[in-house]
């Protein structure tokens, strides 16, 4: 087990370096000049431009910039945005909001998805099954920006049930509820279907039949044995999904004006603010890799058939 973890962590290093390098190159290749937008409808004064370029090493070739950036990053220095704001500060302010949003979305999709999955999995092929099946398909098919916009308008603006926007860095659970529901809605379908398939499969398995024939109540046999085993892949999926939710929050965050990481990355790409993009994505990738590792380890714990030795 220990060697497995060490090996996995060692494998993470090249992946982390590789993906940040990839992002860095792409950000570097962004067309245009970070300066041109800063001076309104006129070219920047040459002296202003020179001072700016000097400050952000923009005169160096990309590999020199990368080495300088990497060296700083290794020391925990994330650099500054073109507005002169510390990237590390920004990330520290923004990650908690996005993580909170992601966790809430995860809980939402987990609860609703598993309930729907259980309802349909017990009676596969029944009326309820078909209703849930079709409705989850429909939800997958509607783009998230449409769901988000509609939800914001009706639940926020029109009926005033939820706050319209979040804006504040110290967002409350209530403020994040609607965005989390929107963000998690896409994955509900997957959680529901995964639960359904696995549950249906396990219900027909020998051990459940044995349990029932041994006199266990149906409820107990289903709940204790079948459901528990069926949830293993669901938990795995949700683990992987967490990373995706963090990165996929761009649209949700922009609709609800949540000062989170997705919004930040999107704007930074627009402003071709390399330090912000690479810094934020590096952490995103790191979170993703760590969560993956944890999920894999958890998988081993939940399912004794899988061994990491």
């Amino acid at each position: 087990m220990g060697t497995y973890i060490v090996r996995r962590i060692l494998q993470m290093i090249p992946v982390l370096i590789g993906s940040t390098f990839l992002i860095f190159i792409m950000v570097f290749a962004l067309p245009g000049d970070p300066l041109a937008g800063k001076c309104g409808e006129r070219p920047c004064p040459p002296a202003y431009a020179a001072a700016f370029k000097e400050k952000y090493n923009l005169n160096d070739p990309w590999y020199v910039q990368y080495v300088k950036y990497g060296a700083n990053l290794a020391q925990g220095d994330f650099g500054e945005t073109y507005n002169g704001i510390s990237v590390a500060e920004q990330l520290k302010d923004r990650y908690p909001v996005t993580v909170k949003l992601g966790v809430m979305a995860l809980i939402f999709e987990g609860v609703i998805g598993v309930v729907a999955g259980v309802l349909t999995g017990i009676r596969k092929g029944g009326f309820l099954d078909n209703v849930v099946l079709i409705s989850t398909l429909v939800v997958i098919s509607i783009p998230i920006f449409v769901i988000g916009g509609v939800a914001q308008y009706f639940l926020g603006v029109k009926w005033g049930i939820f706050p319209v926007t979040v804006t504040s860095g110290e967002a409350t659970v209530y403020q994040l509820l609607l965005p989390a529901i929107v963000l998690g809605s896409l994955s509900i379908a997957y959680v529901a279907r995964l639960t359904r398939t696995n549950l249906a499969e396990n219900l027909r398995s020998d051990y459940v039949r044995t349990a029932i024939s041994k006199g266990l109540t149906k409820r107990r046999a289903y709940g204790l044995h079948a459901l528990r085993n069926s949830l293993i892949p669901v938990v795995t999926f949700m683990g992987y999904d967490f990373g995706a939710l963090l990165g996929g929050a761009i649209v949700t965050e922009s609709i609800f004006n949540i000062p989170g990481i997705g919004n930040y990355i999107f704007r930074s790409i627009r402003a071709r603010d390399g330090a912000s993009v690479v810094g934020a994505v590096t952490i995103l990738v790191l979170v993703y890799l760590v969560v993956n590792l944890v999920v894999d380890l958890l998988y081993g714990l939940l399912d004794p058939r899988i061994s990491h030795d």
Partner: protein
């Protein structure tokens, strides 16, 4: 000469009147205040804000996100009336000149910065020199170009990366045209005659800076010390900027509310929704979604206002060298006549623009209507005839480029469709990924065909809509337009000592643009704002900003 001084004198009188009104407003507000914090509180408001692009130093801020906050923090020599944009003396006691080249400025005695240090003639001169000195890299440095000796403060090196290197270093650190006479008097000598210098002095580039700035410019940029009716209390990066009322303010335009919080938004839509829910008090623009069918008027009944501002939108033709297909003025005029401005304004802009009839915004002194004449009137038949007369369009298709990050897609597409339908020539609206790239392409002369251009005035003068845009080699002459006759008229106008005469010369210069059509006037902007149930007296200035000193709470 006399023209100029007289304007200022009249302005000073109206300022006194305003002062009285301001006091009245303030006291009545005090009595109705219910703020629990006690004292002479005028309440607190929260308004729309966005991320400043630069440190908050008036000499280094040229965009509205920072400018909106700095405006109430820094008083200037001249104050622009929020209704008419007419200049009135603020920190200046008098601004006098006999020849439009030598100006004597007297400032009011006993003015103080927020940190208690006195504002003297030196505070202005030093700040201006600092801004003009190129190695300091101040964005607004170009405002001092008219001052004699400005050139000595510029870097002349040919090194692309750093023109200030080695021999290219600026020769001097102070402009010879600025002289401190005594504590409250200084003089400006310009290198050429400038008839509207006093009008320019209300721009924030000309604000005075306290000594604290020079001690630590970076710290100052985070928490500027100004002299205006409001003090900056805190700037929470990416979240909010908080202004509190300056209790020691002695000027004529004191603030009414005690605290203004600029809440930073990335988009207008959420801000607008917050105003609907009374979570935000003022939103300085209305998102497109609420403009459709005047939705905002039913959303915010009696809580919206619109006003024409000093902004014009144009389409500029790439220089002849770059796109020869558009060089013939007849083709340019035909294209201008093919644009159905009225329908586009109704359908795309929901009447938040005003069709342009010339190159100068109606809000400034010296504006003359219909300078563009029939060429800015939609007439597809005539447009087609004019195009045929010029031998038709030789290129493959007309392209109209825009920056894709600024909400220009809709109107460029509609404009192109209008041109296509009128002229029978294919027209494509081409998005360039963002403003940075867009401007870079224009600057490098790589942008072809037609591209969108917009101009927001720096100061309310007809000159500001012509000289920086269309004189040969001017900083924002994107179409590389060059017409000696035009240049001469601009120069003569700057030298004219009589305001009416100057305006008339500027108008003659503008009329020349109709013949050459370096840029097609499209429309003038209107600023539309909305506010919550909690505030009152929201006034839009000619610059399209809120007059924060006038706002009151209900």
């Amino acid at each position: 000469m006399r023209g100029t001084t007289r304007t200022v004198a009249v302005a000073a009188m109206s300022a006194v009147a305003l002062l009285a009104a301001g006091c009245g407003g303030g006291s009545s507000d005090d009595s109705s205040s219910t703020d629990a914090a006690g004292g002479s509180s005028g309440g607190e408001i929260t308004v729309f804000g966005c991320n400043p692009q630069n440190p908050l130093v008036p000499q280094n801020t040229g965009e509205t996100c920072g400018g909106d906050v700095l405006d109430p923090v820094f008083s200037k020599l001249v104050h622009y009336d929020s209704d008419t944009a007419a200049p009135e003396n603020d920190q200046a006691e008098s601004i006098e000149t006999d020849d439009n080249q030598n100006f004597t400025i007297k400032i009011k005695p006993d003015l103080k910065f927020h940190d208690g240090t006195p504002i003297t003639a030196e505070s202005f001169v030093k700040a201006w020199n600092y801004a003009a000195y190129a190695p300091n890299g101040m964005y607004n440095g170009y405002f001092f170009e008219p001052v004699e000796g400005f050139g000595d403060l510029q870097c002349t090196g040919t090194d692309e990366e750093d023109p200030c290197k080695g021999a290219g270093k600026a020769k001097k650190e102070e402009m010879s045209g600025l002289k401190v006479v005594d504590d409250t008097t200084f003089t400006i000598k310009t290198s050429q005659k400038v008839s509207n210098l006093p009008v320019r002095l209300g721009y924030q580039a000309f604000a005075a800076l306290p000594d604290a700035f020079y001690d630590d410019p970076d710290a100052f940029g985070d928490k500027p010390i100004g002299s205006g009716p409001y003090k900056l209390e805190a700037w929470n990066k990416e979240q909010s900027m908080v202004l509190v009322k300056n209790e020691d303010y002695t000027g004529d335009w004191p603030g009414k509310v005690d605290k203004i919080t600029f809440k930073i938004y990335q988009e207008v839509d959420p801000a607008y929704n917050d105003v609907l829910a009374d979570n935000l008090d003022i939103v300085t623009s209305i998102p497109a979604s609420a403009l459709i069918d005047d939705k905002y008027k039913s959303d915010l009944p009696d809580r919206n206002a619109q006003k024409e501002t000093g902004v014009i939108q144009t389409m500029t033709f790439a220089p002849e060298k770059v796109s020869p297909d558009y060089a013939d003025p007849k083709i340019r005029q035909a294209i201008s006549m093919a644009v159905d401005r009225d329908t586009i304004i109704t359908q795309i802009f929901n009447n938040t623009k005003v069709a342009a009839t010339g190159w100068v915004s109606p809000v400034v002194d010296g504006y003359k209507a219909d300078q563009c004449g029939e060429y800015c009137t939609y007439d597809p038949a005539k447009a087609k005839a004019l195009l045929d007369e010029a031998g038709g369009f030789k290129g493959k298709q007309i392209t109209l480029s825009y920056n894709a990050d600024g909400g220009h897609k809709e109107w460029t597409e509609a404009t192109c469709n209008s041109i296509k339908q009128a002229l029978g020539v294919d027209c494509v609206a081409k998005g360039v990924v963002d403003f940075a790239t867009f401007r870079a392409q224009i600057g490098e002369g790589k942008m072809q065909g037609i591209f969108r251009t917009g101009w927001q005035m720096d100061y309310p003068s007809i000159e500001n809509f012509l000289a920086p845009l269309y004189t040969t080699g001017a900083s924002s002459n994107d179409g590389k337009y060059s017409n000696p006759e035009f240049d001469k008229l601009i120069k003569d106008a700057a030298a004219a000592t009589d305001e009416a005469e100057a305006n008339s010369l500027y108008q003659q210069a503008e009329a020349l643009l109709a013949n050459d059509m370096p840029a097609v006037p499209l429309w003038y902007n209107k600023t539309v704002m909305g506010w919550s149930n909690k505030v009152d007296n929201v006034k839009i200035t000619a610059f399209g900003t809120v007059d924060y000193t006038a706002v009151t709470t209900k």
